[in-house]
């Protein structure tokens, strides 16, 4: 079997006494997009910087295609990095920005960048590569424009162009869509996935946005406080989250977590002992549980206890209801076959087949 494109083994990193990463192990295959999902401070950026060679880990090993590159310089690793803030060279045209990664590092250093552009030897190949990247990203008409005159979406396209232009061994993207408008974000998200697949180059994509993680990732790695909490396909992590914390990371609105307590042989809502909840057969040990049910899995009728609708939010294709129920606030994602109003009553039913259960201490 061939080595994965990227393998991290037992990566640890700290800033002073703060632990940034702990025992992070991860493999990325040759044609795979892996999304690292976590809140700010989870260690996502440190992880990317470690892969790129911008940070030296305190522990562990970084391998690219089987080579131990832990102590290699960023340039030796041949990975391309796209940042959240569109980091283009102002005063340069788009073409010059795209050409930069193609210039030999030695020439950049010895003759200065502007001089390097004038040297003719390999300009034909450089032009070909630039035209190819510009075509893929639909930025051909921007090539002669100065970078500072571009819109945010255009800048980020150029930044992505700069990453793909020299066909690196690995792409690293750090929240590249965060600073864009919602509409553009959605559009670029789709373009990135299709583009990466066409190029066949592996990618590690870091984000705090659960919809990006679900939509883009061949695999999703959930990172929290420097540790990997779970990894798997988006579907696996969404449907079978290992802990309540992972469960709440994916899905919007987030999964409903209802605290249950066993009393007199049956499971009831903690704090509302008159409200029993059917939990199914595979119940973890203990007398206290988290009962997790996704908003789309709650039925609007059939339960034994009524709640009151506090908010009705239109999503377009559907409706989100915020329900006060048995001392809990629940989210329901329902279709538009019925029109709901604040103050309506309903008795939600939770199909035990679709519920997730965890021990609660």
């Amino acid at each position: 079997m061939t080595a994965p494109a990227l393998r991290l083994s037992g990566i640890g990193h700290r800033y002073g006494s703060t632990v940034a990463l702990e025992e992070v192990s991860l493999a990325v295959d040759a044609d795979e997009l892996v999304v690292v999902l976590g809140p700010s401070g989870a260690g996502k950026t440190t992880l990317l910087r470690t892969i790129a060679g911008l940070e030296l880990p305190a522990a562990g090993r970084v391998e690219l295609h089987g080579d131990d590159v832990t102590r290699w310089t960023p340039a030796q690793r041949d990975v391309a990095f796209v940042f959240q803030n569109f980091s283009l060279y102002p005063g340069w045209t788009v073409r010059q920005n795209l050409a930069f990664p193609l210039l030999a590092p030695a020439r950049r250093a010895t003759r200065g960048v502007r001089a390097a552009f004038r040297v003719g030897a390999d300009t034909e190949e450089i032009d070909e590569r630039i035209d190819w990247a510009a075509r893929l990203l639909g930025i051909e008409r921007l090539l002669e424009r100065p970078a500072e005159l571009l819109s945010g979406g255009e800048m980020q396209r150029v930044a992505i162009g700069r990453a793909i232009v020299r066909r690196p061994r690995l792409f690293l993207l750090d929240e590249p869509l965060t600073n864009l408008d919602a509409k553009l974000r959605e559009q670029l998200r789709v373009e990135l996935v299709v583009l990466r697949r066409e190029l066949g180059i592996p990618m590690v994509y870091v984000t705090h946005d659960q919809s990006e993680a679900l939509a883009m990732g061949d695999r999703v790695v959930v990172l929290h406080a420097g540790r990997v909490l779970q990894e798997g396909t988006a579907q696996q992590v969404y449907e079978r989250p290992r802990t309540p914390k992972v469960a709440r990371q994916l899905g919007q609105p987030a999964i409903n977590l209802i605290p249950l307590r066993r009393s007199a042989g049956q499971w009831c809502v903690d704090g509302a002992e008159q409200v029993p909840v059917e939990v199914g057969l595979r119940v973890p040990d203990g007398d206290q549980l988290w009962f997790g049910i996704r908003p789309e899995a709650v039925a609007v009728a059939g339960g034994s206890h009524e709640g009151t609708v506090r908010l009705v939010e239109d999503t377009g294709p559907g409706t989100i209801l915020l329900l006060d129920w048995a001392g809990q606030e629940l989210h329901l994602l329902v279709d538009k076959s019925r029109k709901w109003s604040t103050g309506d009553h309903l008795a939600p039913y939770f199909d035990p087949e679709r519920a997730l259960l965890w021990q609660r201490s």
């Binding site: 700010s40 919602a182 509409k183 959605e186 899905g251 939010e313 999503t315």
Partner: protein, 353 residues
């Protein structure tokens, strides 16, 4: 119901000649939650700032409870303003930040303590009153800003992208907190955002703006189901409405440039330049359907999937149940329910009713 806030022919031209707001008419009833929605540069923030008194209109009027306020300074307008960046005083505690608007109008100590106490309790900030803003999370800082905007019980609440810097679950929580406070207090609210999802979920009425003009005003469901022009059709909805352009035929079909014929929802004169719009949730796999294509991308989004299909009339997005995935490269034939489509003239961009 009589209107509480009334903007008439409101216009703002900046010194460089840019027309930011081009003759806007809008009327809000008391207690209403109105969201100004549009891309950057559409004039939504300038409108809000004119209502707040932070910009002076070039012409037009702003009436609140029957009184003309366009020329009044901000502090005389009885409005509470929340910005995207919390704009808290870094050297003051949470308590003193919330108390600031009261003290600046000379409220006595007892009143201040009582009002601030109510507000911090309402917004769940009791345990943070002694802290400095820099030590708080983004969400907590924005809650402090909300409390400060509401502490004087203003008659109008104005918010400019207040969720802008929050992420993920924090956004949804803050959104719901804002809406619940607004319903509870019954305060008339104008809220600015570029995020259509936020607008749809919060608003009693959405005002879609573009280029300084209002494109459509209506309840979220109406704007979503019945957009008045192609701009609204594209801007509202995530992902956007699928749009197919072509020409009407004598047989009442839409003929696309590549020769595909699609059914129309209503009779239309022949040879009109038309655009047919279909929401992703109205598209389905149908072996007898008119659109043959290939799956290029299948995005799982938790409670549903978006399946992107390249067809002869362009990229189509179909919304499906999470269990109904389709592998990339799969050949599919798509259909849709003509009754769930929208129709526009491409020459004017306007919808046909």
């Amino acid at each position: 119901m009589s209107s509480f806030l009334e903007l008439s022919a409101l216009r703002k031209v900046f010194p460089d000649g840019t027309v930011a707001v081009d003759g806007m008419d809008l009327s809000c009833v008391e207690g209403e939650f109105v969201v100004l929605l549009g891309p950057s540069g559409c004039g939504k923030t300038t409108t809000l700032r004119m209502v707040a008194g932070l910009e002076v209109p070039s012409s037009g009027s702003i009436r609140m409870a029957g009184e003309e306020i366009a020329q009044l300074p901000p502090q005389a307008r009885d409005v509470g303003f929340v910005f995207q960046f919390y704009a808290l005083y870094p050297h003051l505690s949470v308590f003193d930040n919330v108390a600031f608007p009261l003290r600046s109008v000379g409220c006595d100590v007892v009143q201040v303590r009582q009002r601030v106490g109510e507000m911090v309790e309402r917004l769940g900030l009791e345990h943070l009153v002694g802290r400095r803003p820099a030590t708080l999370s983004g969400g907590d800082q924005q809650r402090v800003a909300l409390a400060r905007a509401l502490v004087r019980s203003p008659r109008l609440w104005l918010m400019d992208e207040p969720l802008g810097t929050l992420d993920g679950e924090g956004r949804l929580q803050m959104r719901e907190l804002i809406r619940r406070q607004q319903i509870d207090l019954g305060i008339t609210t104008i809220y600015v955002t570029h995020d259509q999802e936020e607008a749809m979920s919060l608003a009693d009425r959405v005002v879609v703006m573009e280029g300084g003009d209002i494109r459509q005003i209506g309840p979220p469901g109406e704007v979503y189901d019945d957009p008045q022009d192609l701009f609204v059709a594209d801007f509202v909805g995530s992902p956007s409405m699928n749009i197919v352009t072509g020409q009407s035929t004598a047989a009442g079909l839409l003929l696309t440039p590549c020769g595909v014929q699609l059914p129309l929802s209503r009779p239309v004169a022949a040879l009109l330049p038309l655009a047919l719009g279909v929401r992703p949730e109205a598209v389905f796999v149908d072996d007898q359907g008119p659109l043959a294509g290939t799956v290029v991308l299948d995005e799982l989004l938790g409670a549903h999937r978006n399946i992107h299909v390249d067809t002869s009339v362009g990229r189509f997005i179909m919304r499906r149940h999470p269990t109904e995935g389709l592998a990339t490269g799969t050949a599919v034939t798509l259909g849709f329910d003509p009754r769930r489509t929208c129709l526009f003239r491409t020459d004017t961009g306007k919808s046909i009713r």
